[in-house]
Symmetry: C2
Subunit: 633 residues, 2 copies
Amino acid sequence: MVDNCDVLIIGAGPAGLMLGCWLARTGIKTRIIDRRAEKITRGHADGVQCRTIEIFQSFGMAERIQKEGNELSEVVFYNPDKNGILVPTLRIPDTEPNTSRFRHVVLTQGRIEDFLIDCMEADGLTVERSISPVSLEYSEDPAETHPITVKLEHLVPVNDSSDASSGLYRSNIISQSVETPSAGVEKTEEIKAKYVVGCDGARSWTRSQLGFSLEGDSANIYWGVLDARPITNLPDIRVKVVLHSADSGSLLIVPRERNLVRFYIQMGTLQPGEKLDASAQSPQKIIESAQRILTPYTLECPEVEWWSVYEIGQRICKDVSFNNRVFLAGDAFHTHSPKAGQGMNVSMMDSYNLGWKLAACAKGLANPSILDTYAKERIEVARQLIEFDHKFSRLFSGKPAVAESEGISIEEFQAMWVRMGKWTSGTAVKYEPSLIVAERSVGKAQLARNIIIGSHFESRMVVGYADAHAIHLADRLVSDGRWRLIVFAGNMENITQLQRFNDLCDRLMNAEESPIKKHTPPSADVNSVIEVLTLTSSPRRGLQYAAFPELARPLVGKFGYPTYDQIFSDEVSYLDGSGEAYAAYGVDPNGPGCVVLVRPDQYVSDVLGFERCVKKLGLFFDGFMILDGPKCG
Amino acid sequence: MVDNCDVLIIGAGPAGLMLGCWLARTGIKTRIIDRRAEKITRGHADGVQCRTIEIFQSFGMAERIQKEGNELSEVVFYNPDKNGILVPTLRIPDTEPNTSRFRHVVLTQGRIEDFLIDCMEADGLTVERSISPVSLEYSEDPAETHPITVKLEHLVPVNDSSDASSGLYRSNIISQSVETPSAGVEKTEEIKAKYVVGCDGARSWTRSQLGFSLEGDSANIYWGVLDARPITNLPDIRVKVVLHSADSGSLLIVPRERNLVRFYIQMGTLQPGEKLDASAQSPQKIIESAQRILTPYTLECPEVEWWSVYEIGQRICKDVSFNNRVFLAGDAFHTHSPKAGQGMNVSMMDSYNLGWKLAACAKGLANPSILDTYAKERIEVARQLIEFDHKFSRLFSGKPAVAESEGISIEEFQAMWVRMGKWTSGTAVKYEPSLIVAERSVGKAQLARNIIIGSHFESRMVVGYADAHAIHLADRLVSDGRWRLIVFAGNMENITQLQRFNDLCDRLMNAEESPIKKHTPPSADVNSVIEVLTLTSSPRRGLQYAAFPELARPLVGKFGYPTYDQIFSDEVSYLDGSGEAYAAYGVDPNGPGCVVLVRPDQYVSDVLGFERCVKKLGLFFDGFMILDGPKCG
């Protein structure tokens, strides 16, 4: 029995589940399998960065993270004073101002996965567990629509409590092989897929099938990690603490949900070639290391919820796609140390980058060449991550220079921490020009000084024209696979500008060269492939809602209901401020306006003036859209 | 078979479910029954006022209303100009500034009930449906702990689609009797209860058992109500519209969730003694009335989700409790017209007022005399509501004075609307002195100029001392049955003030006269009956966390974990403003400080200076707490 699907996702951790959310939301026939019989509940990753929460918001579930997680507010650095006594040396916000409308939150990976699973299931996709892939074959036949064949074994689950207990931190100890516990094979199955994505972690089966490998090195330093409810006289146990002791090693404290605290604790060094001895580790040993480092502060941990030991190392896979048919995402292509809270986030960002592209290709809407941008965009991010972590983790594990002693510079470390704040928040990612990211230019930058082509579209508060709601503009950039044209319409009380805007809308709606005209199926709503969002600089009273052209407030659905959520004003709201969007985006409120093309994943593809913009947009979409392909899944 | 329970709730509408949430949360043995086989899903009430959302927040579920509901931002008044043509005459925010941190939201009653049910079920209480009470007996025997016997019939449910279709608006047409549809009686059952609460609506069975009746009158005017997705050229269909036409009647438009719009539409008048003919009503008739009133604007409603017709009337029951054993709440004791969005809100507020008192009595902690305050506090609110609605609904239904014609004054109506904004938000409720609300005095008012004894404790942003979180102080006033002492500690960098604060905490923790000492069971955590929340005017760096007295950061639980969420600073947070709490509460940041006693339902019981406050608090609690009663349920 062979099952055909568009996409097979191997591995239901954060990367796999994020991909599942995209594919389920966009209606792609998908299967997602995992070898484990049970999902994790405790321990593992826990940092949720700003940009990740922005993406959760685009799927309509950010509030779940905010409610359950612990928002981090402050970071305190403790270092030895000139007598070697630990003192706080710097106190800064954990999220730098103007990074995002969201803040870093800490919440166990298990709950993040729960939210993704709920989102996916609401769109009809469920994880299939206790399934292990055993072979992957690829057909070169160009007529084959589903060229990949994967053989699966349905395992008989055993009662696996390895997770609830503890163990080595899997994503970093890649040399250690962990067999899937099973009581045998129940049945085998063959799947034929258009695409396969390996989200199967640091010891990725998919990666080994492709013959790819992780490359990198290890620092021969190992750390312990512990989730516990501590009793301590350290006054800063509920903020993030970054601590270098004079002689006993370093420590990171991350206060968590449910009064938990995560400790990252420097344990020791390994000789070159020496392997970390898992059997010699225990929570007691980790706590003893922490007590030494924290002296003179006390620490007791009556309840330990999870613990692990990991070796510092950075490894990356230089190939992440095979023929644009099989892809790797997350730990399968990059592993590093966990303390900067990047792992789970960058992994989800990988598959978030890939999801909408796969969906467009699986539907026959886009040319597979857009899949090239996945490797290009994400390998660069992974490379930066590895480079950052290499430096960061060595500074973190270094003995500080105290008084005249030799050691790492605490000032350099603290400065690096602050400087990297935007980068670690995930909001600094900038994709380079490609089929789907236009070249930057001085002229474009003048139209919208603070909108960067290749970066994500930053959110600002605006006011709904029809409903007077103050809302974040990014709340309209939902992850549903649609492109958006954000039209900075300018001052609608200026007759000339209003006429220019009306002309633009008319051409976008009716000109043969318009991508909306070309790529929207005749039977579909005009906003179903590219949605136009209009932001006026003039207030709501300047022009009646009904006076806007139809493209700005299209009639949709069976009954032709007008839409009321596509036009916004940059005015001051009754109760929530706003009125600063044009200034923040760097667009002249009395100028000629501009058009910002935003990808389905919220990254800015291009910034254009009104003139000839319809033709230019048409050519841009011609670069990767299939004109005569099937128009709807 | 007789089942004993502490509280029997009859009726699982908003009032009954809110009560269920309280009793389940506080661990009271409760049953909640409803005659209907199915809960409602469409139509009925939909306005959720600010104060109601504050209370939902105290149960940890406000975000569900905010996410699903439509937040109202603006109200526009349309009135005839001097030629009788409809024009907008006033545009104001729907929630006045400084009313609450929340806004009015519109969401169908069915979803509000779902949230309450989920909350209740998380604490182990489930609605039992298709159960009808048939008799209620009361035993005068003072030795009887469960003096009320209620006989129940478990009905065989029939497929009742009366709700999904439509009908008369039940809560107002009290003369109309609606039988519980059933295919017979499956079994009967007897319950013996300490308390019974009738939350069974305008035609309350409980009320009739007590021999109480609703009194009031009707305006002989009837209105239609309709939930639909409209197609209209009225530009303001997504904000609230309050409209008086010159000659065709009045209309209210409330934009809803899921692109629905609720219309309240004036239909006609009845002759004295004439009954509204239900069979003559239809959605078409309602839409035709709306079209007449809205002229020259057009209106089509291709999809009607729910409709009803109701007669304007106000009725109130002057007795709401029998021997402090049987109570009425919600529509069972007051009915009125729905347009001000008060019904569902005031009903939930009734049972929210009652719940914690019943819990304290059922546990034997408080003297039943506190139950007297339920009738006293809520009858006054109901009386104000009836008085307001009587005037409001007549002005709403009145023909406006246009040019020289006779009629109601639009200016008066608009002014009343604005003036009543705080009242209709639910935040203006002020309870009068009683066993649990102290007398006001000039001296107390000077300690905290903007904290009103008898009003709810208003929320301000403060900064968590231990975690640097900017949080709303009211987020710590959770509905768990505990009293709170909010200590405005003042400036902790002033040694004298610090010493005064330390002395206060010492006396509260150790003095025999302290209510904490008297009423906290020896085996329980010190914060389990009265929780102390400390707000300093000095910044977090002014005094180390560990330097606060133990009462302010008590050690709790089996392992004696320190608490980190009871001390706050009125400082500017990193990212969220704040630092204005002392000013907003009207407390001198460099003064002697004060203590605010807050009831479990967030209403302020008293404001005291530090001097002799422990003794005064002890005497206050002596007024209603049972010293030698069982200390825990």
